[in-house]
């Protein structure tokens, strides 16, 4: 399917970037990044609920937590 192939190509482009990473900021410049308002939360209880709601009530899955379907009955 062409759309899927295009997305796969985009994924290929992303992969090498992720493998290298970039050192852009010194540790003493990270004060604002440590602000509570800047924290990427990982509350697993909320991830669990959001996965169930969005995965079962929409036609797409993935991107919330690290699984994308399975192990959860459909409502």
């Amino acid at each position: 399917m062409p759309k899927l192939r295009r997305l796969a190509l985009v994924g290929l482009l992303f992969a090498p970037l992720a493998a290298t990473g970039c050192h852009t900021v010194e540790y003493y410049e990270k004060q604002l990044l440590s602000d509570p308002a800047m924290g990427f939360e990982t509350d697993p209880t909320e991830v669990h609920f959001q996965q169930k709601v969005f995965y079962s009530m929409e036609g797409s899955a993935g991107g919330i937590g690290d699984s994308a379907g399975g192990g959860c009955g459909c409502y």
Partner: protein, 419 residues
């Protein structure tokens, strides 16, 4: 179970996955794994709510040996049926879900978590089943799940995790396994991770009319590659891709499809008394899905930040979706009260086998509203109140306005306690 893919586009994605895995497995060493701020495992754990993964190590503080945390969350989900969506069936649904997660950091290099969740599901489809004596146990669906996970710091750089669990419902049980690995690179300005999950499900095929058509199996594999990056002293972001493969019985057993007979007698078992006969939904037995996602957060000033997030998704059933989710984070009372407001736009195309109306049986056919053309706008937010150093309370509320009229209300209340 062996996967048996039939669609021509699948090999390209499979190769992509292998290449990505190979790339991640060759990354040089650096420090990693620890508790995130809210106590979940490593850098490939999910991020709440938003459509991304990766817990940025730069934002986490390692727990100390002996630390324990209990997170309790009660969630409520409801949508009525306004008559839109599938006109033949009542799609009303209510879910109440308590979740408990206990997390214990045992040593500098090992931690574990125990996860128990329960859902009480009340829906029109279950009410329907309860009318059939042989399915009298389906007056409500009770979902129970348990998961055990461990996290290890292997060396001065690698962090790995694994989990196993099971879940059970009236017509369904599942066993799941997963593993993840992550590490910091680029002087801790970046974190890369990869995770794999597999679920093996057994399904009692109880159809819309109460008939039990034996049992089926379903296997689901997913792989997520994730990347966190500090971009500037005020900006950082997470990005990733998830590929998932499903094989087996992928229809929803109790979903019906109405084949209409214009001019025929009305059918009183249908919600709108239409003329037609109901048949079981039939969908392909394999599905491959790809989601690319990311979010970038920018600090405006101390205690204020905004975030732009989104996801692009496509699968070989013909569903393509896009979502965009901006958020605003603000500390209202330093050390005491934090807030988050969000908006989410979501749109998807219909699955190839979806039709609003069928007039003859087809090989594959569904009228599931969730596989139709759809768009939605979500408005919501969350308040978190820190009682003291060990306890915090959180309340979240979202309203989802859907183009098919199945508007949703989501509410959650959480209590986090550290021992």
């Amino acid at each position: 179970m062996l996967l048996n893919f039939k669609r021509s586009s699948l090999p390209a994605l499979g190769v992509t996955t292998l290449i990505m895995l190979a790339l991640f497995s060759s990354v040089p060493a650096a420090p990693l794994f620890g508790q995130t701020e809210s106590g979940s495992a490593g850098a490939v754990e999910g991020v709440e709510g938003a459509e991304t993964t990766v817990a940025p190590e730069a934002q986490t503080s390692d727990s100390q040996p002996g630390d324990m945390k209990l997170t309790t969350r009660f969630s409520f989900y409801n949508h009525g049926d306004s008559g839109d969506g599938n006109p033949f069936l009542d799609e009303a649904l209510t879910v109440v879900e308590p979740v408990f997660i206990f997390d214990h950091t045992v040593t500098d290099t090992f931690a574990y978590s125990l996860d128990f969740h329960y859902d009480y599901v009340s829906s029109a489809s279950i009410d329907r089943l309860s009318k059939f004596p042989e399915q009298s146990g389906a007056s409500a669906d009770n979902y129970v799940g348990f998961d055990v996970g461990g996290r290890w710091k292997l060396s001065d750089g690698w962090k790995v995790g694994a989990h196993a669990g099971f879940s059970d419902e009236y017509d369904y049980d599942s066993v799941g396994f997963g593993a993840n690995a992550s590490r910091d690179i680029a002087g801790k300005d970046a974190t890369v991770g990869v995770s794999v999950n597999a679920y093996f499900d057994d399904i009692r095929v109880i159809q819309f009319n109460g008939n039990e058509a034996g049992s089926e199996t379903r296997t689901s594999f997913s792989t997520t590659a994730s990347w966190y990056q500090v971009i500037t002293p005020k900006v950082h972001g997470t990005f990733g891709a998830t590929v998932s493969l499903q094989d087996g019985f992928l229809s929803t057993a109790y979903n019906g499809v109405v084949i209409e007979t214009p001019g025929g007698p009305s059918n009183p078992t249908l919600d709108n008394n239409a003329s037609g006969t109901e048949f079981a939904e039939v969908l392909p037995d394999t599905r491959m899905r790809l989601a690319l996602f990311g979010r970038v957060r920018t600090s405006v000033s101390e205690g204020k930040a905004y975030e732009l997030g989104g996801r692009i998704y496509s699968d070989d059933w013909g569903v393509t979706s896009f979502s965009f989710e901006p958020r605003w984070y603000q500390t209202l009372i330093p050390g005491k009260l934090d807030s988050m407001a969000r908006y989410r736009f979501y749109t998807q195309t219909a699955a190839d086998d979806y039709e609003d109306h069928f007039f003859a049986a087809e090989k594959f056919m569904t009228q599931d509203s969730d596989l139709a053309d759809l768009s939605s706008h979500t408005l919501g937010g969350r308040l978190t109140y820190h009682l003291d150093n060990d306890d915090s309370l959180s309340f979240g509320l979202d309203y989802v306005l859907r183009s098919d009229g199945l508007d949703q209300v989501l509410a959650t209340f959480a209590w986090e306690h550290e021992f």
